[in-house]
Symmetry: D2
Subunit: 293 residues, 4 copies
């Protein structure tokens, strides 16, 4: 497939590389060009503008937040204005449910196809084509997106014909991860003050909850080492904000999400913007007066 | 080993049966005798009193709560008064850190050995000898307990020489399970109001958090079927109370645990005492005005 | 003073009438004209458009929310486009800190004076000129606004030269009132289940907290009668949203505000949009399984 | 009346002095005798033992907590064993609902009368006979207690014939005060980060909530001076524990009380045991990264 790829961050680099591996013709665009050059060596064409990345059958966007997506998609000579009728936009960014709904409407007006396909997984999973993809959109759009999604993910879940439902699932997943961090943080504060060895506790955890979320965040909290960030605190905060905005619109009270909101505010107020988001898992220990690990 | 076993509930039955399978000589005692008779067919000796179950090398207690343990261990002709010097008491009940500490002192005064060895796992795991055991006690007591614990569990974690540390780990584990229920409850409330199919969401969950806690509680919350209880709500409430008591003593604020406390009060105030404890995972949906599944 | 008044709701009617009493020349504008006619009898001039209400020395706006203020002030032929240079805009609406900041900038660009002067008090207090006014703005703007504010309030507090600081104070005040409602709700749930007579408890409250917030909300919660609304639940919800938005911008975690947020979502999800905002004070009793009063 | 008075702390001293002023014959007992001597000069008789203070028509106890009351009332040669049949025990200590219920039963078995009469007010109010008294008990017991209560309080509220209901009201009142502290703490964190002068904000508060709770705690939080304590943090923590215990027994979820519980744990974990309980009102600012006042 002839596909554009916009947004070569930690996640996007791996995803674009996997599209190339799957023998798609990929035209990449990034605000700073160095990253694009790394992919040129693997066969990618480099676009000088957003518009140039939108001349094929499809374009995938993988950007940091709503503002970046609005800028790239909605502004002058952006994706919306550049895609030809019938072409496909796959939005894999973690964005608000509201913006995804708006993109859906706009693309429909332009005669484009639109699939929201946010992904679960850390950069290593993106590099290894082991992402979990949740996709929403009209049947023909999903059909068109299938070979692209297959190239980047281990598993693709179709959530239905409302694209923004996929974004809601993505936000709910990050909420579940955030909840794991918070509850592990409280548990570690407790057992540490109870005189229990943290590494031994980690081993027990691995016996009970042997999945990446518990293993990875448990190890980070046990060590108290939140630098360098795998997923930075301000991004985690952004996702909880988007989650609470969606919950507000849908009328769903979520007390654990409210707690996470407060935790991120506390973390950032104490200089946490350069830490991994799991650093909120260190706040319970701090409240309990536990000395840093 | 010549061992007594006191408390043949859902968990105790399987544990005692596995001790027999491992060719220990087991003398069982239960308040109501029918359950004991079922084990007699497999080779158990039946004790008519607590004291009769305490005549061997060791006795294991697996009882419902602090009150039951106090009654069986501390009262007239109980475990404490009946064990011979040097004999071993393995307490596998989920009890308070404070009571476990007191048992430790009392047994030391009587010249007994004491191991706290609470277990993780549902009744099926107990029957299959697949429990996770967390054990605390003096080295020689742990050494003596080893063949017994090996017979009932898949894995035994030694937490150190302070027995009640094992009870704290057990309570913290139930707290983590309760946290999973609460956060799943909030996530399901959200995605349900967002128009997403619950079964499809369950499949995605299984891709992200493929461990029993998420699979089992996710399925219960998705279906809204909390009867019959696998682990009854009042027992879950008891464990959160014990956790908060330990956290209070240690000086650890645990906001998610406080939320769980309030959830159980709400559930029980609305007739939930006969439901599975995961029914607290239905309260977020109720607050959000979601019709029952 | 020759002053326009835009927004004749429950609050605005009384405020405009008091400006007339203080012998200001008042030109009133309201989206629906009936309310304006009632004031014509008392000497007000009726404006047919927003612009007509902006031809004097000053204009006061008292509108329901950010959207109404944006529409009246910022849109075509609105307040911004209509006021002459040097004229004064007094914004008494409860709006976001962000919008008030934006109004400040826009008015400065146009050469206008701008005072944010939100008010505390219920409609009866507005009618009796007994509002508490919190005013922010440049010294000369405040000086110009003084006779107007004196006419509507019992007391005027000057908060400084940053207008939006006054809006922050207003939101914090509504937060404190909301907190009173929540804590009274929890206390009434407790004493009701404890078998204590609610009216007797109200009398004790009046001995300890003899201020309107406790007296009024206490009586409403004791009776369980939340209709008709004095201050409707969606308005209370809006204010908590604005508060949390300001807290988010400033980086301040506010757990009680987060709880209020969740309470309003629950209330509205159960048909509470027509109730007084103090109906969130009935939710603790509902959670506790207390039958309605 | 011939009355004993046990417990000459900050509150008890003033109360006993006022009984003397009202021309009752007062026999005082305190664990340390110095305080009793101060009252001897005003006409009090000094008892050398609890029992000696229980030889009259009535005895009043004003002690720090459940443990002190259990010791003084229930132990060997305590109040229970010493009062003659028909005599009256007035318990003014802030104790658990459960203990007050137990005292009621025990006194009934001994043929005594029992009134629970906890008081609201700080030591200055006790000295000035301006306490608010909430009294529960059988009609004849209340009748007998009336002249005593009239001597110590400004106002006496009779709550009914179940003594421990008065204790519940007392705990709920301390909860409401604690809630005021928490919400003021959050409001001050917000307005401080918003650049607003704290003293100016205090003035506005006094216009909206002109009662001691807001005035006193507002001033303490605004200044950040929590020493010396008027009411020490461990006592406030104790009362929230007693409240939550009562709420647990009655089945009432109280999320603000849970938050207060966590705040006290955090405060004490950071060395707050010597501060006034309103120091929990400084924690929101700390979380928000506000430098101490």
């Amino acid at each position: 497939m002839n596909v554009g790829f916009i947004g070569l961050g930690h996640m996007g680099m791996g995803m674009a590389a996997n599209l190339l591996k799957a023998r798609h013709q990929v035209t990449v665009y990034n605000r700073t060009h160095e990253k694009a050059r790394a992919l040129a060596a693997r066969g990618a064409k480099i676009a000088g503008t957003v518009s140039e990345a939108c001349q094929g059958d499809a374009v995938i966007t993988m950007l940091a937040n709503d503002a970046a997506v609005e800028s790239v998609v909605l502004e002058f000579e952006g994706v919306l204005a550049s895609l030809r009728p019938g072409a496909l936009h796959v939005s894999s960014s973690t964005i608000s449910v509201a913006l995804s709904g708006r993109l859906n409407e706009e693309h429909r007006n332009y005669g484009h196809r639109y699939v929201a396909a946010p992904v679960f997984g850390r950069p290593e999973a993106a590099a290894a084509a082991e992402l979990t993809v949740v996709a929403g959109g009209e049947a023909d759009a999903l059909e068109a997106a299938r070979p692209l999604l297959a190239a980047i993910g281990r598993k693709v879940f179709v959530i239905g014909d409302v694209p923004q439902a996929a974004n809601l699932v993505k936000l709910s997943g990050n909420f579940l991860n955030g909840s794991v961090i918070e509850s592990l943080g409280e548990a570690f504060a407790l057992i540490t003050k109870g005189g229990i060895d943290r590494q031994r506790y980690l081993e027990i955890l691995a016996s009970l909850f042997n999945v990446p979320a518990y293993n990875i965040y448990g190890a980070l909290i046990a060590s108290g080492q939140f630098e360098p960030p795998g997923f930075a605190a301000p991004l985690g905060q952004k996702d909880i904000r988007l989650l609470l905005a969606a919950a507000d619109t849908l009328g769903v009270p979520m007390p654990v999400a409210s707690l996470l909101r407060d935790r991120f505010l506390t973390l950032i107020a104490h200089g946490g913007e350069r830490l991994d988001w799991s650093a909120i898992g260190g706040l319970a220990a701090k409240d309990a007066g536990v000395a840093a690990a």
